[in-house]
């Protein structure tokens, strides 16, 4: 299985399309425990990202991902802008000038992204954030991969774990991000960032399934 720079571009396009389609849903989740802008924020960012993709169509994966990252940093704002921006930037830095990625590369890129989110957000698992979806997703992907499963089925397990992680944010008490201001009242609501992270993972799986 080889993922090319072109596939990465398709993945980004799919993410942009999903975010646009789920914009109001994400914003609605954010209105329950945040400030009702998560969908709008990401949609603003990925809409701009789409305009930048033609300029990197023939570039390496690292350049593509770093362009996505800097564009998100410069257009999203809020908490999710620096976090997803840093995630894509770090993934891009990890990929360097590769034009094709193998399974190990994808895992390395995702680990770099997660590390970026954690260090930028000074956050860890269990705080009711996007990390609670990304973290378990990467774990499951790695575990399946280590058990010798092929990439698609390993990625499916990863995405399932992402989804489970997203749902697991519902009973959590938020201690990071805007939802933390609610204290106990944050309990019972699904985290918007964990949801957008799951949507991105789903988009990745969609692209890989078309390979």
């Amino acid at each position: 299985m080889h993922i090319t720079a072109e596939h990465v571009i398709t993945f980004i396009e799919q993410v942009a399309a999903t975010i646009k389609a789920q914009r109001d849903y994400l914003t609605q989740l954010d209105s329950a425990i945040g400030d009702a802008d998560h969908g709008v924020n990401l949609d603003r960012g990925f809409t701009t990202v789409l305009t930048k993709l033609p300029g990197v169509a023939d570039k390496d994966v690292g350049t593509i991902l770093k362009t996505v990252g800097t564009t998100l940093v410069s257009t999203v704002g809020g908490a999710s802008g620096p976090l997803y921006g840093t995630a894509f930037l770090r993934a891009g830095m990890a990929m360097g000038d590769r034009f094709e990625l193998g399974t190990a590369d994808v895992i390395a890129a995702l680990e770099a992204a997660l590390e970026g989110v954690q260090s930028r957000g000074k956050s860890a698992r269990g705080e009711k954030t996007m990390i609670d979806s990304i973290g378990p997703g990467i774990d499951a992907l790695k575990e399946a991969n280590a058990a010798g499963e092929d990439f698609i089925s390993a990625l499916r397990k990863g995405v399932d774990a992402c989804e489970a992680g997203m749902r697991a944010t519902r009973p959590m008490l938020a201690t990071k991000g805007r939802a933390s201001y609610l204290g106990d009242r944050s309990v019972g609501h699904q985290d918007p960032g964990a949801t957008s992270a799951f949507l991105m993972a789903q988009a990745m799986l969609g692209v890989v399934e078309q390979l």
Binding site: T27, V73, G77, S80, P82, G121, R178, S180, Y181, L182
Partner: protein, 333 residues
Amino acid sequence: MKKLINAPEHVVRDALAGMANAHPDLITVHYDPDIIVRADGPVQGKVGIISGGGSGHEPMHGGFVGKGMLDAACPGAIFTSPVPDQMLAATKAVDGGKGVLHIVKNYTGDVMNFEMAAELAAAEGIEIATVITNDDVAVKDSTWTAGRRGVGVTVLLEKIVGAAADTGADLAEVTRIAKKVNAQGRSMGAALTSCTIPHVGKPSFELPDDEIEIGVGIHGEPGRRRIKMVSAAEITALLTEPILEDLPFSSGDSVLAFVNGLGGTPLIELYVVYNELTKILRDRGIRVSRTLIGNYITSLDMAGCSITLLKLDDELTTLWDAPVHTPALRWGV
């Protein structure tokens, strides 16, 4: 939703254009990235003061740009932290060679975006200091959470620190004063209604006709608890007592009392609240030596108010009284 806007996606830009047209003597608006800078800046030999945050809190911050207060403001999308490009551009625009102070309200997004901007500005050789305001006693403070929100104290801090910079103080001294203001101020707010974010089109939370939110934030975030509607006297007590206990303020203290409207509450009600506040303070032996009453840090069309108390000493009082000339605050000039 009925608002005096053309389209949700144009409201920030339209209002910026309106501000630019209204106050050309005081401010200049730059676009891409969007920043509001002092018309006569940068002031050489003065520490530059910038702030920023999501729009929807007007007049904060753009209305506080001018002589004796902010050198620039970075308006984000409604209720969304601005992006680092804005803070970097503002930092460069106000740099007068003595460094730049970033005033940041404690929200994860604001903190991270300012942090990235500060890294970039430092890389360009500009000396940066950051002060984070976190005065909202409605939120439990702790090191393992995002901590308290920055609210009303931010307005007072911007005024006082702007005056400090005008005295020629260096970045370390200006930062000391900024931290002191934040340390000596506490706030809390109550909402009678939700606000409606233009791109959402419906209220951010539902509040029955006989209930109010105590400890509400300035972004349409629900508060800490919901109670049945009570009198202005009772609401004022519910906001003031946690403030007084937290610092704590005590008998003999002199304070600046700031009753702030959240955007949809008329001035007559703010004076009713202020009157109740004076009774509580009088009972505790706390003297109000300065006041600010009006809509200064708002939440779009939310009805309600916040109360901020800032413990004053001679240094802060003198800086508060110093001349200021901005679209929203003006005296002594």
